[in-house]
């Protein structure tokens, strides 16, 4: 029946092209070459499996071809979400049904790659084989007889070097031809459903007949082996790993500082310019404090996100990340995590959103879930302003101690995350640990184009997910702390300037206390009374459950300032001077330490919860994350508060 479908194709270009192949065969690089900047990444409907979809021009008459980059697989017989999505794309009745299948094959590792080729060929649909990494094969002394391979497989085989864009035109041509041509499965192909052993035997026979392997290890092989011995060694491997990570963080914070300062300066200038244009009053406050403040508070993190993914993509392309995962596997496995968790957990130190999204790299579902659940424990960039504020309040005039407390926050978050992984591994996620099976790909020169595309993809995803929500929260918080407006004499007819002057005369603190935010804080305050928080801190803590960086601006708004999101000495001094209703200081050392512990551990980020739900495919895990992290934060913050009280610290 499916053969009839193929034969019935009109003389037209294919509508949908699916890319399949083993991991590390340069599939995504080839996809980028075919689609350029027109690609987007989305989850396959109803699953958490990432599928990249792009378009490439077919011909003038037929518009564009949809190209689907399926997850990397060694064969189609697994039951992982990735295998099911690929199977769906190859199924004539599937939702992602492909009209032409492009199998990307590593020319330097032909026999193993032919297993999935055999499975696809058995599907009786147009197939083209892209023989990628021809340059690597040549450098290793491996020769491939392309003509003969094409005859054995019964489908077009096109040699390409995707990284350099070689052979792409020939590949496009072959795909157009294949879409309308009849194809007969190889006579010697084991009949479907074939076992992996039978397919492997067939693949080895075809590879033997069509390629010539070098008699001995080449210079490249020997260099790879030597590098691997060094980079995966228990001592030199770990030392190199630490050095590379330090360099990565240093680059991240140093290079990102320049565009971050620029963004802040741009928004500052914009705010000043708008203040000059818009007359003083509520509209000006809304624009400068709510909208501009919200936008700058989000966009300022964009350079870090883009740069991090750019650097990680470069590292991944070189083949080093697989070695890093191998090195980290020993340490992380003690806590029930695989080595691959390392990248998402590292990324989560910039922002939990891309950290959770990069957990897609982890093939095992249980390991992926454990990583997603603990990723928000890692201290993200959004916590930085809060840490700066609270450590400065805790150790006023003692920068060295403040620095130690700052580092301790990072350590506490990481320890809490690893403890949680250990705990969940023995309870909720028990019984499904998977050993690390990892292919160490060949070392390659990284592709800057791939890295730029990864940075663009993640940057856009960050702006879409976080931008709208954080800005909206800032606007709502500004409104809640500004209304109901204190009575102004003859407000209905007064000019804005006069009204603003009158408003300024009203006691700011009383106005804040009677605002909606103040009323809410007083209502919720009994819940945080055991932690020593008054209504103002309660408002700050509760609103930061939507996005934790809102805490600093909320406290500044409640203090009566301009809703600063940037922590400078002025903001710290003003917040330090805040008082409770009884006139005592709001931030005692005990209160600051308690709040610090709470902020390190609490799940205070709405976009993170949304991404957790999206990536796990279930709201259940978002609720577990929120409840577990916040309960742990509350209990530990309470213990710190009581402990300090017993120790006589006020």
């Amino acid at each position: 029946m499916s053969t009839a479908v193929v034969d019935a194709r009109p003389q037209t270009a294919p509508a949908r092209l699916a890319l399949v192949g083993n991991p590390n065969t340069g599939k995504t690089t080839l996809f980028n070459e075919l689609c350029g900047l027109r690609a987007r990444t989305s989850n396959y409907p109803g699953t958490t499996t990432a599928v990249r979809v792009g378009h490439m021009p077919a011909s003038d008459r037929h518009g564009s071809v949809e190209v689907v980059d399926l997850p990397g697989l060694y064969d189609l017989q697994g039951s992982t979400p990735e295998a099911l999505v690929a199977a769906n794309a190859l199924n004539p009745a599937g939702r992602l049904r492909a009209d032409v299948v492009l199998v990307v094959v590593d020319a330097s590792n032909l026999a193993r790659n032919l297993i999935i080729v055999g499975e696809v060929l058995a599907q009786s649909r147009p197939v083209v084989v892209a023989l990628n990494m021809m340059d690597v094969a040549r450098s290793r002394g491996i020769g491939v007889d392309v003509e003969r391979l094409s005859q054995r497989l019964g489908c077009p085989v096109v040699p390409v070097v995707a990284r350099r864009g070689e052979g792409i035109d020939a590949l496009r041509h072959a795909m157009r031809e294949a879409a309308t041509a009849n194809r007969v499965a190889p006579a010697d192909l084991p009949p479907a459903p074939a076992s992996l052993e039978a397919l492997a035997t067939w693949g080895a026979a075809v590879a033997d007949a069509c390629s010539s392997a070098p008699p001995d290890l080449t210079a490249t092989d020997r260099l790879t082996e030597r590098l691997d011995r060094f980079l995966t060694h228990p001592i030199s491997g770990v030392a190199t790993f630490i050095a590379i990570m330090c360099a990565l963080f240093w680059t991240l914070f140093t290079l990102a500082a320049v565009p971050m300062d620029l963004i802040e300066a741009l928004f500052g200038s914009l705010s000043e310019a708008l203040s000059a244009v818009i007359p003083a009053g509520p509209v000006q406050d809304l624009v400068t404090q709510g909208i501009i403040g919200g936008l700058s508070g989000t966009v300022v993190f964009l350079p870090q996100i883009c740069l991090l993914f750019f650097l990680i993509s470069l590292l991944e392309d070189t083949g080093y990340l697989a070695r890093a995962a191998f090195v980290m596997d020993g340490a992380l496995s003690r806590f029930g995590l695989p080595g691959q968790s390392f990248v998402p957990l590292l990324t989560a130190h910039a922002c939990a959103l891309p950290g959770i999204m990069s957990a897609r790299l982890i093939p095992n579902e249980r390991d992926r879930l454990a990583t997603i659940l603990i990723a928000p424990f890692m201290s993200c960039s959004a916590r930085l302003p809060v840490y700066v504020l609270l450590t400065s309040l805790l150790f006023a005039g003692q920068p060295a101690l403040a620095g130690v407390a700052f580092a301790a926050c990072y350590l506490l978050g990481a320890i809490a995350g690893l403890f949680t992984a250990w705990l969940f591994g023995r309870t909720a996620l028990k019984g499904r640990p998977q050993p690390l099976i990892l292919e160490l790909p060949s070392y390659r020169t990284p592709s800057v184009k791939n890295a730029l595309l990864a940075a663009k993809d993640q940057g856009m995803a960050f702006l879409r997910t976080a931008g709208t929500v954080i800005m909206a929260i800032c606007i709502v918080m500004w409104w809640l702390s500004a209304y109901p407006r204190p009575d102004v004499p003859d407000a209905g007819t007064a000019t804005v300037a006069a009204a603003a002057a009158d408003t300024g005369a009203v006691d700011t603190k009383a106005a804040q206390a009677s605002s909606y935010a103040g009323q809410f804080g007083k209502l919720a305050q009994p819940l945080f009374e055991p932690l020593g928080f008054d209504w103002q801190l309660t408002v700050g803590v509760v609103t930061s459950f939507l996005a934790r960086e809102v805490f600093v601006s909320t406290m500044a708004v409640l203090e009566g300032g301009a809703g600063d999101t940037e922590v400078d000495e002025g903001v710290v001094s003003r917040i330090r001077a805040m008082t409770r209703d009884d006139g005592t200081p709001l931030f005692t050392p005990a209160t600051a330490a308690t709040a610090l512990v709470f902020f390190v551990l609490a799940m205070q980020c709405l976009p993170t919860l949304a991404v957790t739900r999206k990536e796990t495919g279930s709201g259940k895990y978002a609720v577990i994350q929120l409840a577990y992290m916040s309960s742990l934060a509350y209990v530990l913050a309470f213990l710190v508060n009581r402990g300090l009280a017993l120790a006589g610290v006020a």
Binding site: V5, L286, G290, L606
Partner: protein, 46 residues
């Protein structure tokens, strides 16, 4: 613009922002309905 009118404008904007936040909160617990992907063309059946 009178203060009252300004109050009205900023309140409408804040309500819109609150709606955005609420919608995101609701999305956390109510999964989005999956739209079936439309096929690009129908092949002739034999």
């Amino acid at each position: 613009m009178t203060l009252l009118l300004q109050d009205l404008v900023v309140t409408i904007v804040a309500a819109f922002a609150a709606g955005t936040v609420l919608r995101r909160v609701v999305q956390l617990f109510l999964p989005k309905r999956q739209k079936p992907q439309p096929l690009r063309f129908i092949r002739p059946s034999h």
